[in-house]
Amino acid sequence: MKRKQFIKNAALTAAGGIVMPYILPSGRLFAATGSRRANHVVFCLFAGGVRNLESIHKAEGNMMRNTLNGTEAISADIAPGIVQLPTIASTPLQNNGTLFKEFRYASGPTGHYNGHTTAITGKYSDEAIQLKQPPKYPTIFEYYRKHTSPSTSALNAWWVSNALGPYPYLNFSMFDGYGPAYGANMIQPDSIFNPSSASVLGSPLTLSQTEKSKCDMMRDFMNGQFKIPQAAVSSGIVNSAVDAEHLQTWLNSMIYQVTNGNIQDPWGTGIMTGDMKNIYFGIEVMKEFKPELMVINMTDIDIAHFDFTKYVSAIGMADYALYKLWQAIQSTPGMANDTVLVVVPEHGRNQAANSVVDAYGRYALDHNNDQMSREIFCLMAGKGVKQGQVISQTQGESVDVVPTIANILGFDNEIPFGILDGRVLTEAFT
């Protein structure tokens, strides 16, 4: 009798163990399919540390004329130091979506990498963050690739970074059950698409299809003779052979264009800042691969540590690049009218200035965890987003971006319960 009872209990426990993982936070047994709000998300980190004061509150004039309504003039004392690019938006971007004017980076150090990590993982970080290894918690790329279809192609997820250092680590995490198998393709375009790089990577060996097949055959034989040591498996994103070929062909074509001087001033502005270059190449990624999820950043604004006027100027140039990104989304077949653009700074800057004075007598700004350095904005624009909505009260946080993107792409219910801290910004949706 006892034995029978034991077997029954064991069977029930086993069955429960199988069923339980599929009960979702929503209470449904299986995730809803086909509930996407849009098929593409482009998340632009308007980063480098920008205060709401100079951005959406226009304290020095409307520096974001392609994004924000209004024609407030630039402060006269710094105007000579501002690079003024033309306004290219027929209607500012905010009219295509919802603007959260008082978004918050509510917790954790106001460091650039902390802010990026929070935005990409949906988890606030602390001082113990590691700069030379992937983040602790899964990135939005891994959630996307693991929990939605098509999960097989890494070319559907891109992290386009405008800096090296720790930033390349943000394409996947060390979290158990996630990791590089679900990571995004990462590129820091300016380190590859420049004349120096082109000089060493240009003129590569080209193989005919027959030659390539024979090389593949020889390599397959060689690989068959070598057992990869499990203790030292190469960690990193891996594309399928077909995708890797596609990626390499595209990289070579871009390098070729750089070598031939075709990408010196592609927007005809007479100036291409680091931010503008990163957005330009991000657009090229978008046009080539039409990723379902792309995260891209700008950081030139960080000049604020040393030069206030150049910081204000950088906001304007980032705004120009941002609208170029929006235009490209709207003119890319497959992404036009089927994309949500999310724009968020990683953090703000201090209320109090530091002691560095610029050529116009303005003091520079650091970011050291004061209240103002936590005040940011969030703009969501595109398919399924309420048009022209402005939310002026304090609402929404950095950690809400990841669940919101997951919701747009229809897999938020499949993310294991308890990992994410934020919520879906449903108030932005129609």
Binding site: I187, V200, M222
Partner: protein
């Protein structure tokens, strides 16, 4: 017993400045190194510096300059798919006219010697009997296979990424 062989390995030690931090950088120069007796002895993944420096030394017989190493290294850091960038680096190096490659005529004049020397050069070990036979057979049956294609295949194989 391990045999001495001229190849490459770790030597000089450099301190370079990147951004605000000083990082250790190593340059791998041509020097004597012991041969592996089998591929199973390779248990460690080459670092990016090692991969680039060793590939350069293998192809050109000299140590890579610091400028070139930095440029290649930055390119590797700048792409998430390391295997793809390593493939591009090998393709760019191997296509240079200064790459020291055996001619097709010399290879076909004595295929067994070519196979042995190529394994010694790139894998730092002798081929086993099966590899000797298979590679010889492969080269004989595929008259359009060139030494450049064989070197490229070896340098982009799994074994080449380990030491």
């Amino acid at each position: 017993m391990k045999i001495k062989h001229t190849a490459i390995l770790a030597l000089a030690f450099l301190l370079l400045q990147t951004s605000c931090n000083k990082e250790k950088r190593y340059i791998y120069q041509v020097q004597e190194q012991e041969l592996y007796q089998s591929s199973a002895q390779k248990q460690n993944l080459k670092t990016t510096d090692q991969f680039i420096s060793i590939a350069y030394s293998h192809l050109f017989g000299i140590s890579i300059t610091n400028n070139e190493l930095t440029q290649y290294n930055v390119s590797l850091q700048a792409l998430g798919d390391k295997a793809t960038m390593q493939d591009m680096i090998v393709k760019s190096m191997i296509n240079r006219s200064s790459a020291q490659l055996v001619t097709n005529t010399a290879m076909r004049a004595d295929i067994p010697i070519f196979v042995e020397q190529t394994y010694l050069r790139f894998y730092n070990r002798k081929p086993n009997e099966f590899e000797r036979w298979k590679m010889k057979d492969l080269i004989e049956k595929n008259t359009d296979v060139t030494p450049r294609m064989i070197c490229y295949s070896m340098m982009t194989s799994d074994e080449y990424r380990y030491y």
